[in-house]
């Protein structure tokens, strides 16, 4: 059954494509023109800057602000870690259920687990 088990080379190709996209992004991206400007600024803050340059004053400021860029990136890492942990748990749980189901089906089938011998 070719559809049941995904072909490994497609998986590898997809992962390679994702890596290639970011490798290309790094090399093709224009270098910052001014020496003090940061490369790869977040688009959200670019837009905020554009609006502020037009003379707009935000009328409300965040209730809690991470003290520094380091703390902020730490909290972003925490978000990614929580998400990745839960994702891994959910996918692992599904995989465990699936193999338990297969095992159960194999045991319940007439002839037990030995039924896989071809006739």
């Amino acid at each position: 059954m070719p559809n049941q088990r995904p072909q490994t080379w497609i998986t590898v190709a997809l992962i390679a494509a994702v890596i290639a996209i970011f490798a290309l992004s790094f090399t093709l991206a224009p270098k910052p023109t001014e020496p003090d400007s940061e490369a790869f600024t977040g688009t959200d803050s670019v837009v905020t800057q554009v609006i502020e340059d037009e003379g707009y004053e935000p009328w409300f400021s965040p209730i809690f602000e991470p003290g520094s860029g380091e703390i902020e990136s730490g909290l972003f890492a925490l978000q990614a870690a929580l998400g990745a942990g839960l994702l891994g748990f959910a996918l692992g749980n599904l995989r465990g259920r699936s193999s338990a189901r297969k095992q159960f089906a194999a045991d319940a089938a007439p002839g037990g687990t030995t039924q896989s011998t071809p006739s």
């Binding site: 992962i15 992004s25 959200d44 809690f64 972003f76 998400g83 699936s98």
Partner: protein, 230 residues
């Protein structure tokens, strides 16, 4: 796509809250309903929420020289239809608004509308349109469109709040799209590939559920051939 705290006029903040609330309430109900159906559903729901949680935390570099983050809302929209993502996306945005000062409480309604409502629905629409060309193509399109359209909606929301003094709404929309859209294209393509990878894995562990939802084609030919040979 996070509109920063205080960057929308108060009237628009209220309006976006009003628009988003029914979707989020309906989405929360759908989440509970789906979670009660089966343990597998509960895990898939957790996976869909976690997928958005991870992807929206990661800011990635793009060819434009800026960085931005994917949204990851397409996967849940394909698995459970878009309403559940209205709720799951709101949880993510609330976390970021409160803990990371990313987005904001005043702009939450607008951000929920772009990332958790418009994105998933547009992604789901693309999925339905392309489903007959194969599940991988449809899933790729769903992920790509959910990601990309979120940023387009954000651009329009910002243009509505900050129209250009000379060229008006459309001038401002073009200006914001120029910042968001080009940066987002490679990220959306990458997210499409990641989505296909996720569904390839899900296909090995919850294949019956995905077939029942019409996400994957049933593997009929292989089994019928087997019985015909026997």
């Amino acid at each position: 796509m996070h509109i920063a705290e205080g960057f929308l006029p108060a009237a628009q903040c209220v309006a976006w809250y009003a628009v988003a609330t029914p979707f989020v309430v309906h989405g929360a109900r759908q989440c509970i309903k789906e979670a009660r159906k089966s343990p597998e559903n509960k895990m898939l729901l957790a996976a869909a929420g976690a997928f958005t949680f991870v992807l929206s935390a990661i800011k990635l570099p793009s060819v434009s020289g800026s960085s931005s983050h994917p949204t990851g809302t397409g996967a849940g929209a394909v698995l459970f239809r878009p309403p559940v993502m209205a709720f799951l996306g709101t949880v993510v945005l609330l976390f970021q608004a409160l803990l990371l000062a990313h987005g904001g409480i005043t702009t939450l309604g607008a951000n929920v509308f772009s990332m958790a409502i418009a994105g998933p629905w547009i992604g789901y629409g693309a999925y339905r349109l392309l489903r007959r060309f194969g599940s991988s193509a449809a899933i790729f399109a769903a992920m790509f469109c959910a990601n990309f359209s979120t940023y387009c909606v954000t651009s329009l929301q910002l243009a509505l709040a900050h129209p250009d003094p000379v060229s008006g709404f459309w001038g401002a929309a073009a200006k914001f799209l120029a910042v968001f859209a080009i940066t987002q294209i490679p990220l959306a393509i990458a997210e499409g590939f990641v989505g296909v990878l996720l569904f390839r894995f899900l296909g090995t562990v919850v294949r019956p559920q995905l077939e029942a939802r019409g996400i994957l084609d049933p593997v009929v030919p292989a089994t019928t051939k087997q019985t015909a040979d026997a």
